[in-house]
Amino acid sequence: MAKKLETASPYLTILLLISLMIGFNYWSSTVMADDVSTSVDVGNSAPVIGEVSLNGKAAINLTEDGTIDIMASASITDANGCLDVRDGGGVKAYVYQYSTYSASTSHDDNYMYDADIVSCSWQSTTGNTCIYECTASSAMQYYANPTSATASASADQWAVTVVASDSYWADAASNSYDDNDETAIDINLLLGLSASGASASVDYDEGVTLGTGTESNALERGVRNSGNRAMNPLVSAGQNNALCTDYPTCTGEIITATHQQYSLITFSVGAGTSLSATPATLDTNTPQRTSDATDDASDDQIFWALFVPTGQAPGSYTGANALTADAD
C-alpha cells in the first residue's frame, strides 16, 4: 500500500495543484463586502443621442390612396439612466422633407410629420443607452413629397430629428440627414389612380334616352390621382374589346367597345370619343395632390355613354374597361 502511495504521490501532487488553481479562480471571483454606508451627490448629465435612423435606412414606398406607418429609431445615452429620460421630458421625433424644416414648421402631410403624430417609446437598454423606436401608425399619406432620383425634388431627402430631454430639461437633438446622395432616405415616386370616388353615386336610373338604336346620357365617373406625382389616365377597352353576354369568353352576343364613348365634359352620344383597344390619353395632366380632400385639380371626371345599335340581341352584357395611370 505504502509503495502504491509512493508511486502515485507525484500525480496526486499535480492534481492537488490543479485543483488549487481552479479553486482559487472561483474563490477569487466572489467578493465579500463589508457593510459600508456611503453618501454620494449625483449630478445631472444631459442625454447624448447616438444613431438616428429613418425607415431602417431604406427608401420609403407609399401606398396609393392610403397611408403607411412611419418608422424611425434612435439610441440615447444618459448617465443618470434611461428612466431619467423616460420620466423626464421624454423623446420626440419629427419626420420631414429636409429642405422644408424649421423650428416653426408645423404638421403638413406633404412634408412634415411632427411630434404630435410620431410617438417614441423606449424599447431596450444596453448599459445606460436606451434604444427608442419612434412610430406613427398609418400616418404617412400617399401624396407626401417624393425626393427620389427622377423626382423634381431629387436633391432633397427625408429625415428624422430626434429630441431627448431628461428630468432636468437638459436636452439633445440629432437628425438622420445624410449629405451623401446615394445613402440619403428618399420617398419614392408613386404613380397611382383610383376609380370612382365622390361622383360614383350618379342616379343612372333617370334620363336614359332610347332612339333608333339605344343610347345613354353621358354618365359621370370619378378618377382620382392617388399617387404623389402628376398623372395622366389612359383609357381603353379591356379584355375582348367588347361587352358580351358570355363574358369573358365572348363567343356569344357582343357590343363592340367602339359603341362606348367617353369625354372629360358631358356630351351626347356621337360627340364623345369612341372607346378603342388602343389606349388613349385623357390629357388631364392631373397634378400631384396636396391633400386627401377631393379637389378640382387632382380629381377628374370622365363621362361615359353607350350606344346600342339597332337589332342588338337582348341580353345581359358584361365587360371591362381599362384605366391606366401614366406619368405626366
Partner: protein
C-alpha cells in the same frame, strides 16, 4: 310589348354598366421608374417595384407587357408575365430584371412596362369592371463608362466577449457598374457618451460586391476593450472619402470558456509553472534514480567480476 322587352333589357344593362362598377378601387406602382444611367454591356440590374393598393379586397390577376421594342429581350420579371396579387397585399413586390447584351449599342433606351390588372372573381352578369393599371417608365443608358460607388445602408455590431474580435456587419449597395469593394471600413469605439475614443481600426481587405448588388459585409476588428457598453461608429470609405457613417451600441462581455476562465488570472500561470516545474523535477528525479541504479548495478557487476577473478586466482 314587343318593343318594350329589348328596351327594358338595355335599360337594365345601362344601369348595371354604370351602377355596378362603383368600385372604390385604386392601383399604383412605386417607384414608378426603372432608371439607370450607367449600365455597361453585360450588366445585370434589378429594381424592385411595389404594386400597391390601399384596399386590396380581391385577388387580382396581373399581366405585364413590355412596350420597349429595343429592350424587350433584355427584360424579365421574377414572377413571370402573369401572376396573382393576393387579396390583402397592400404592397406586392415584383423584381424587374435587366440583362444588357454584350453587343448593346451605347445610347439611351426608353420604354414602358404596362401593368394591367383584372379581378379574378367575376363581378356578375351585366356589369362592366374597371380594370386598373399603371405604366412603369424605363429610362436606361448603356455606355462604356465605368462607375465606382457605394450606398451605405446600415450596420449591426454584435456583442463581443472580452478579447474576441468585434464583428461588424455593414449593409452595402454597390451603385457602381463593376464588381468592387470599398477602400476601407473604419471603426471608432467610443464610450457610451460619444466622448472618449477607446479604440480605432481600419479593415481594407473587404469582400467585393457585384455590380448593383446589395449585400451584408462582415468585418472583424481586434478587441482590446474592457467589459462595458460602447458606441461603435463605422465609416465606409470610397478611396479617401467617407461615403457614410452609422453608430451602434454594443457590449463587451465576460469570456465564458472554461479554459479561458482558468487561465484568466495571473496566479493561474504561477500555479501552472509550478506544476510544470514539479513535473520536470519528478521526471528528473526518476531519471537520476535510474542513472544511479544503473551506475550501482554496473559497480556491483564489476565488483563481482573482480571477486570471481580473485577466487579463481586463489583456487589456482
Amino acid at each position: 310589348m314587343k318593343k318594350i322587352g329589348p328596351i327594358l333589357i338595355i335599360v337594365s344593362l345601362i344601369l348595371f354598366l354604370f351602377c355596378a362598377n362603383i368600385a372604390f378601387a385604386g392601383f399604383g406602382i412605386t417607384p414608378s421608374t426603372v432608371w439607370n444611367d450607367h449600365l455597361l454591356p453585360s450588366s445585370h440590374f434589378e429594381e424592385t417595384i411595389y404594386l400597391v393598393q390601399s384596399k386590396p379586397e380581391k385577388d387580382l390577376l396581373a399581366k405585364i407587357e413590355i412596350d420597349a421594342p429595343e429592350m424587350k429581350d433584355w427584360i424579365s420579371i421574377d414572377r413571370g408575365f402573369e401572376f396573382t396579387i393576393p387579396a390583402g397585399s397592400q404592397q406586392f413586390p415584383i423584381k424587374v430584371i435587366i440583362d444588357i447584351p454584350q453587343k448593346a449599342e451605347f445610347k439611351n433606351y426608353d420604354g414602358k412596362i404596362w401593368v394591367k390588372t383584372m379581378p379574378l372573381t367575376k363581378e356578375g352578369d351585366g356589369m362592366v369592371t374597371v380594370a386598373l393599371g399603371a405604366i412603369i417608365s424605363l429610362n436606361l443608358r448603356v455606355s462604356s463608362e465605368e462607375i465606382y460607388g457605394f450606398a451605405f445602408r446600415g450596420i449591426t455590431i454584435k456583442d463581443a466577449e472580452e478579447g474576441r474580435p468585434i464583428k461588424v456587419t455593414v449593409t452595402l449597395q454597390n451603385v457602381g457598374n463593376t464588381e468592387s469593394a470599398p477602400s476601407k471600413i473604419h471603426l471608432d469605439v467610443y464610450d457610451a457618451y460619444l466622448i472618449k475614443v477607446f479604440q480605432s481600426g481600419d479593415i481594407t481587405e473587404i469582400e467585393p460586391l457585384k455590380a448593383f448588388e446589395t449585400k451584408e459585409v462582415v468585418v472583424k476588428f481586434p478587441n482590446k476593450l474592457a467589459l462595458g457598453s460602447y458606441f461603435g461608429s463605422v465609416q465606409v470609405f470610397k478611396d479617401e472619402k467617407s461615403i457614410g457613417e452609422a453608430k451602434a451600441v454594443f457590449n463587451i462581455l465576460e469570456r465564458t470558456g472554461f479554459i479561458y476562465k482558468i487561465f484568466s488570472k495571473w496566479y493561474s500561470w504561477i500555479v501552472l509553472i509550478a506544476v510544470i516545474l514539479a513535473g520536470i523535477a519528478m521526471g528528473l528525479r526518476k531519471t537520476l534514480k535510474q542513472l544511479i541504479n544503473n551506475w550501482n548495478s554496473k559497480r556491483r557487476e564489476r565488483k563481482r567480476q573482480r571477486l570471481e577473478e580473485k577466487l579463481k586466482k586463489l583456487e589456482k
